[in-house]
């Protein structure tokens, strides 16, 4: 705090040149506003810069055909607000119940204009400090030993106004269209500007470059009026229902797949766009050829001299000329505004459109610079939902919590419970938590055990990529072992070429839970916090290093993991064996017996009955427990062996039988030790 005060006084001195804030956020899109909300709630000094006059400028333009493909489920049959967020992909997190997207639209796939309106409301109702019409055009560093991270961030806007910040949160999204350069690419129209009026395509033959949702959305719009549409892309189409990745082709956009497979003239092709060339003939028709042919010819010659593939291969697939070629290749991050000293580097391979960041969402090049929102998707690209509102609203919260701990000494929020609540706290979270559910395999709940395992501390939605740094990043101690709770799909279930509808794909039995295919909770137990090295060397496909023990809660058709025998019991056994204790609940009467016959008591008696919170139980319940053989009824006091066996009449025999069962089961209950 002293540092912050000092820093702000420092800035006050130089206020003439710089406007100082502890936190600067670039971009007032969903992620920027989400970050602003948490900063505001924590009472931090922050400002959001937005180049447009209103929040969510990306949504003002995109998607071009205005239909969002994030679901807005009105009804789930449940009133649990946390659970319902699992099926609300558009709302941002806030305490204000008015700011739920379902109050804005009744459409399952809402209109993008609604999103713009929602974001405006979000910023306005929560009074977030957003500075509109401010385009940051340059970011650089100023070394300063006093600064939080050893440097300040200096931001310059389009009016050459400068700002100084201790921490920079980049929530600028990816908005620079991806373009491919090949001979003839000047004839290609971009998704950004292409007409969205189907009439403009009537009777035309169209080639679309790309195979993502924007490409299919464009095709879907004109499918009915074109002669035919061909789509070309380097890789095969990936269907989101097969990959469980929402960024892949969604069923709502896949009308063209239907017409392709039904041989209704439309088609899909694979090929490297870099090898392509387009030539325009005299009639204005566009012909596909290969860069290779163009390189071998005399530039000055006319169109007729150019070799077309069909000249050599007369059944070449795209031999028909096209009227239009549309590029729908997605967007990339705008790297241009960052000074070289910030070392904002593009990722490698398929994540080159995103800046390189660590699993903590901090830039690899610059300490104190965090990337939020879509631009942070490199962490879980093609795996989880971190590139989408319903995912990054949670990762943004996680980043905020990391910052609170790092700069303000506020440890990661946690709740301490007695160990008897262990099973319950896990069951509660896996059933309702939306962050775990949406950001599966990325965010995890962490249970830190206290000494002697009599109590535990529960931390929600911590990024598992930085599990090894947990103590430093959260300010919490993990000395006595920990549980990590995440959600996972079956390891070999999802994939572009997998049959996800195969017979017997669902597992029903708790003992085969590890083979569950659909999203299900998995609990890892570590006696010690994994080290960085262990994290690095984790087995392929494993989100975490090999634990000391692991438990899968069997997948559930209703995603309702509250069944006493199939879900809770195996979980309890797992926890008991990890902690080497007995986590069963006992009625007060059992605790009473144990208090007189054992020197030690099970945790449920210790933490309940002995503290005068014993579970007396109603008549019926105790009767049921007796019938189940888990509680002995001593009201008929004569017992086994006290009488010679031949003196029993029938009714007594009955009584003895009833009695006999409890004896042995109770033995079972009392002799907790395994033989």
């Amino acid at each position: 705090l002293g540092l912050a005060l000092y820093a702000s006084s420092l800035c006050a001195a130089s206020a003439a040149t710089f406007l100082y804030h502890d936190y600067c956020v670039i971009g007032a899109g969903p992620a920027g506003l989400q970050a602003a909300y948490f900063l505001q709630q924590a009472g931090r000094d922050y400002v959001v810069f937005e180049r447009s006059h209103a929040p969510g400028s990306f949504f003002a333009l995109y998607p071009r055909h205005r239909k969002l493909i994030s679901i807005n489920k009105q009804y789930t049959g449940k009133s649990n607000s946390e659970f319902n967020l699992r099926h609300d992909w558009n709302s941002l997190l806030s305490h204000d119940r008015r700011l739920l997207f379902r109050h804005y639209s009744r459409d399952f796939f809402p209109d993008a204009d609604t999103m713009v309106r929602y974001l405006e409301d979000f910023a306005a109702l929560l009074k977030l400090r957003v500075q509109y019409n401010t385009a940051i055009i340059h970011v650089t560093l100023e070394k300063n030993e006093q600064a939080w991270n050893g440097h300040y961030f200096l931001l310059t806007d389009q009016d050459r106004k400068s700002y100084k910040c201790s921490s920079l949160l980049v929530a600028a999204g990816t908005w620079v269209p991806n373009v491919v350069n090949f001979p003839g690419s000047e004839y290609v129209e971009g998704y950004e500007t292409v007409s969205i009026n189907p009439e403009d395509f009537a009777g035309q033959t169209v080639l679309i470059l790309g195979r993502g949702n924007s490409a299919f959305e464009t095709a879907e719009n004109i499918l009915g009026v074109t002669n035919f549409i061909h789509m070309v892309s380097r890789s095969r189409v990936r269907l989101s229902w097969a990959t469980h990745y929402v960024g892949d082709l969604r069923a709502i956009n896949n009308g063209l797949l239907d017409t392709y497979q039904l041989k209704s003239l439309d088609g899909l092709l694979e090929g490297d766009l870099e090898d392509l060339a387009i030539v325009k003939d005299k009639k204005g028709k566009l012909h596909i050829t290969l860069r290779f042919y163009l390189e071998n010819r005399n530039i000055s010659a006319g169109i007729d001299s150019i070799t077309l593939p069909q000249d050599e291969l007369d059944n070449f697939a795209t031999r028909a000329p096209y009227d239009r070629v549309i590029r729908c290749l997605g967007w990339k991050f705008d790297f241009s505004i960052y000074n070289r000293s910030l070392r904002m580097m593009p990722g490698k391979g398929n994540i080159k459109k995103y800046p390189q960041i660590k699993p903590s969402y901090e830039s690899r090049g610059t300490r104190g610079l965090f990337v939020l929102g879509t631009a942070s998707h490199s962490v879980d690209f093609r795996k989880s939902a971190g590139g989408f509102i319903h995912g990054f609203r949670y990762t943004t919260r996680a980043v905020h919590r990391l910052l609170e701990n790092r700069h303000h000494g506020v440890p990661w929020p946690s709740t301490v419970y007695p160990i008897t609540q262990l099973t319950n706290s896990i069951i509660k979270r896996v059933n309702e938590a939306s962050g775990l559910y949406q950001m599966f395999s990325v965010l995890a709940d962490i249970i830190l055990l206290k000494e002697n395992a009599t109590a535990f501390e529960y931390l929600e939605e911590y990024p598992i990529g930085i599990l090894a740094e947990l103590e430093m990043q959260t300010g919490r101690k993990a000395r006595n072992g920990l549980f990590v709770i995440i959600m996972e799909y079956g390891r070999n279930f999802s994939g572009a070429d997998k049959d996800v509808f195969y017979y017997n794909r669902a597992v029903g039995e708790a003992q085969h839970a590890w083979q569950s295919n659909f999203l299900h909770p998995v609990i890892y137990y570590y006696k010690h916090l994994p080290t960085e090295r262990e994290m690095r060397l984790r087995p392929p496909d494993w989100p975490l290093p090999r634990p000391n023990a692991i438990h899968h809660i069997v997948e559930d058709f209703l995603t309702d993991w509250t069944a006493p025998n199939a879900h809770i019991l195996p979980l309890r056994r797992f926890l008991e064996n990890c902690l080497s204790t007995d986590l069963r609940n006992f009625f007060a009467e059992s605790c009473f017996l144990f208090a007189f016959t054992h020197q030690k008591l099970p945790p449920s008696c210790q933490q309940g009955y002995i503290r005068m919170q014993g579970l007396l139980g109603s008549q019926e319940l105790r009767r049921h427990a007796v019938q189940a053989g888990l509680l002995q009824d001593y009201t008929h006091t004569d017992f086994l062996g006290d009488r010679p066996p031949d003196s029993h009449d029938g009714s007594q025999e009955q009584l003895m039988r009833d009695h006999g069962i409890p004896v042995r089961s109770l033995q079972h209950l009392v002799n907790a030790k395994d033989e």
């Binding site: 649990n80 007695p418 099970p602």
Partner: protein, 838 residues
């Protein structure tokens, strides 16, 4: 289950496997012989073989063939090889030529034909083994048909050797096989006699025997000297199996009475090894002869059920009561030896039989478990949480919740303002304890009938997590009482309808209640004021403060806030407070205490004025001097951390007992212990406590000293003494001086996981050792080890497998039927020895 017992069971199981050699694929099987010539020329002199001849083209003897093939391995253990001889088509010799011979099997020793069996007598492995051994052991096993034959044999054996007499309902049965197999081993030691005559069975057994089940007697003829007397007999109580016969014969072979002269803790006899208890008769030089006779008498009574040892106290320094005359050692490891004072040998017998019954039940249970073990994993998926199971069995019953308002995020705050007080149960509809409490909660309206201004409500936190966290509810169940304009009070008492109702009732008057006049104060102490509480019996507590003692008064008020709902507290600080307190011979600040029963008022001066002290003091003062311990009130007394002097009574205690105990409790300085009593009629679980201490219920009432907090010893007040203050005090003195021996000790066992968990880690990919950075400390090194795991069953099974297999192989030597032994059962160290003995 103790390790020793475990060992015992598994070694016997192992034996069974060895001897009867349940055939498995691989190992010895049928020998094939190309021709009769070849077969006969190869017969060795001493070797026995069972041969059958079949034409090269088989004709429908298929089922028989299968049986004989599978018995080949079993027979090999007895040195009998099974040979199938292929008859060439043209062969017309003795065995191949006759059509008849092809339906028979022939037993040869060397090349001498001993017996031919029609194939229909060899219907399964049991019958094949039984019949072949029967033929081979012609001399060792006598077959008798009449009682006279039996008596003849018995008379001949008298003074020479013992006899084993078995009745089997038919030959060729599993029991027959068991007897034959036992005879193969013990035949040279004892004379075996077999019959299938039901008349003989009736003649030899006492009551009406079941002729359809086999029966075995051990006749002690070796010791029989009188020709006229029949030999003593000991029947085998269990069903006839090789295992039970073996065990029985072992027991019969053990010395009747073992004389020991060392610490009984260190003694181990064949009985203990076989899982039976050992009874020690504690003897002295003076009484040795009598003790010896008692021991022998007892030994005959307990033969086959327990061992008897004679322990000379002069030779061993025993730290036990001088009075003790019997000690009982059970085979369970870690169970301390019980020293007892018994008057009659019958008591010993009852004691042993009770022990065995419990044992039997446990064994049955274990067997069941093992069976299930093989079928499924084990009982892991069977609910063993009594609360969860009870709730799920009750889930279909509709609860009477009409009078309990359901609150939601929308109506929560508006509902709170509707009643003077709102009681809210926060619960989760999937959580068992919550639901158990909801059931008790549903009974509260009936208890509260006629109490105005109380609204009962509930919030399901599974529906409204936001509301619950907003109300600071982090665990379920939680009950809060909301009063307008005041902070909500969280209920901290027992989860029972009565306790909760009483809490709600008490918390409707303010705590402490300010009393304005002397009359009110007096009425309050009499329990008549305030009127809304008068029908309910509660101890009333009145704080009396003069105007000068505001510090104490404030602390008292604060304590009242904390104890609200649990205690009935009043407060009087008018000018005449001094007069009021002096009436009870105290001066303010003081507490006046009117107990619910007698209504006599005690005055207590207050010296410490901190809130914490005040709360503690009030709690302490509210405890009874000689309380009846019940399930709900035990924790209050446990908190004192003192030993219990507890009187178990079958019903209400008598005036005399009560008076004496009260005198004792009051007379003891600083209350070094909690004197209390337990009404077994009201708290029947007390029987469970007594049973744990003494195995049987001692005669009631019984007075016990229980060191609950230190050491856990339980001492029993001598039943022959009457319960008087003097007697108890002198007993307590002896007890303090260490002169008494505890009759029992509370188990020190930790609460371990009742059953192992599914080992998913093991089921998932095999570990990749290179990946583990600390080779010593990674799960990769102990793949089967289940979490936290010294208890996991899978653990032992998997890890020990290889070593067991090798041990078994080494010990068994070749050709002794170890093939196919389930390695899991070929348990630890002893079985090798047993096996060779067999």
């Amino acid at each position: 289950m103790s390790a020793q017992k475990d060992r015992w069971v598994s070694s016997l199981v192992f034996l069974l496997f060895c001897a009867s050699s349940i055939p498995k694929c691989g190992g010895a099987s049928l020998q094939q012989e190309p021709s009769p010539q070849h077969y006969f020329s190869g017969l060795e002199a001493g070797k026995t073989s069972l041969a059958f001849f079949s034409p090269s083209v088989s004709r429908g003897a298929q089922p028989f063939l299968e049986q004989i093939e599978s018995s080949a391995e079993a027979l090999q253990d007895y040195g009998v090889s099974v040979v199938k001889v292929n008859c060439p088509k043209e062969d017309v010799s003795r065995y191949c030529g006759e059509e008849n011979a092809l339906r028979k099997a022939f037993l040869f020793r060397g090349n001498r034909l001993i017996r031919e069996f029609p194939t229909d007598a060899l219907f399964d492995v049991n019958s094949i083994v039984a019949n072949v051994l029967f033929a081979l052991l012609f001399n060792e096993v006598k077959y008798v048909e009449t009682l006279a034959d039996l008596e003849n044999i018995e008379n001949v054996l008298k003074g020479k050797s013992n006899m084993v007499f078995a009745y089997v309902p038919a030959t060729g049965t599993a029991e027959h096989r068991a007897v034959m197999e036992a005879a193969f081993v013990y035949g040279t030691m004892h004379q075996f006699v077999l019959t299938t005559e039901a008349a003989l069975l009736k003649a030899t057994s006492h009551d009406d025997p079941d002729v359809s089940s086999a029966w075995l007697l051990f006749c002690h003829c070796q010791q029989a000297t009188e020709a006229a007397q029949p030999c003593r007999r000991t029947a085998l109580a269990q069903p006839l199996t090789l295992l039970s016969i073996h065990r029985h014969l072992k027991l019969m072979g053990a010395p009747l009475v073992t004389e020991v002269a060392e610490d009984p803790e260190k003694i181990s006899t064949v009985h203990l090894q076989l899982g039976l208890p050992l009874v020690f008769i504690l003897s002295q030089k003076e009484t040795y002869e009598a003790d010896r006779r008692t021991a022998e008498f007892l030994a005959w009574q307990l033969l086959g059920k327990a061992g008897v040892a004679l322990l000379s106290r002069d030779l061993v320094d025993l730290n036990v009561l001088h009075r003790s005359n019997v000690a009982l050692k059970t085979p369970d490891e870690g169970m301390p030896i019980q020293y007892l004072v018994l008057e009659d040998t019958d008591e010993v017998i009852t004691l042993v039989e009770n022990k065995n019954k419990v044992k039997q039940i446990q064994e049955d249970e274990q067997e069941e478990e093992e069976e299930e073990d093989e079928k499924e994993n084990n009982n892991q998926d069977i609910q063993d949480d009594q609360v969860v199971e009870a709730v799920s069995r009750d889930k279909k019953r509709e609860l009477p919740l009409e009078q309990i308002l359901v609150l939601t995020e929308e109506n929560f705050h508006s509902s709170l303002s509707e009643a003077a007080r709102t009681v809210v149960l926060f619960y989760a509809s999937w959580e068992a304890v919550s639901l158990a409490v909801l059931r008790s909660y549903s009974e509260v309206p009936a208890h509260l009938k006629g109490t105005p201004g109380v609204l009962l409500a509930r919030v399901n936190c599974w529906d409204w997590p936001g509301l619950c966290s907003q109300e600071n509810v982090t665990q379920f169940p939680t009950i809060k009482i909301y009063r307008e304009g005041q902070q909500a009070v969280t209920y901290g008492g027992m989860w029972g309808a009565e306790e909760l109702s009483s809490f709600i009732l008490l918390s409707q008057v303010s705590c402490p209640l300010k009393l304005a006049t002397m009359d009110e104060a007096e009425g309050y102490l009499r329990g008549e004021f305030p009127s809304e509480l008068s029908p309910h019996q509660h101890t009333s507590l009145l704080g009396v403060f003069s105007s000068a003692t505001s510090e104490a008064r404030e602390a008292f008020e604060e304590a009242g806030n904390i104890l609200s709902g649990h205690v009935r507290m009043g407060m009087y600080f008018e000018d005449d407070a001094l007069a009021l307190s002096q009436k009870y011979s105290v001066s303010p600040p003081a507490l006046l205490l009117a107990r619910s029963g007698g209504r006599s008022v005690e005055g207590i001066s207050l010296s410490k004025h901190s809130v914490q002290d005040m709360v503690q003091r009030i709690r302490y003062e509210l405890l009874d001097i000689f309380p009846e311990i019940t399930v709900p009130n035990l924790p209050q007394y446990l908190q004192l951390g003192k030993p219990f002097l507890i009187l178990f009574s079958a019903g209400d205690i008598t005036q005399v007992e009560s008076k004496e105990m009260l005198k004792l409790a009051k007379g003891t300085p600083q209350q070094a212990f909690v004197a209390c009593w337990l009404n077994l009629k009201k708290t029947p679980v007390g029987y469970g406590i007594l049973r744990t201490y003494f195995s049987t219920t001692p005669s009631l009432p019984v007075l016990l000293w229980v060191n609950l907090h230190a050491g856990g010893q339980v001492f029993k007040f001598p039943s022959e003494q009457s319960i008087t203050e003097m007697n108890i005090l002198s007993w307590l003195e002896k007890l303090q001086a260490g002169l008494e021996i505890p009759s029992s000790t509370l188990s020190e066992e930790d609460w371990k996981p009742p059953l192992p968990a599914y080992d998913f880690l093991q089921m998932m990919e095999p570990p990749v050792p290179e990946l583990s950075p600390h080779p010593g400390d990674t799960p990769a090194q102990h793949p089967p080890k289940s979490p936290g795991g010294d208890t996991a069953r899978g653990d032992t099974a998997t890890r020990e497998e290889p070593s067991q297999e090798s041990t078994a192989e080494e010990v068994g030597g070749p050709g002794r039927g170890l093939r196919g032994t389930a390695p899991r059962l070929a348990a630890r160290d002893k079985q090798g020895k047993r096996h060779s003995e067999l």
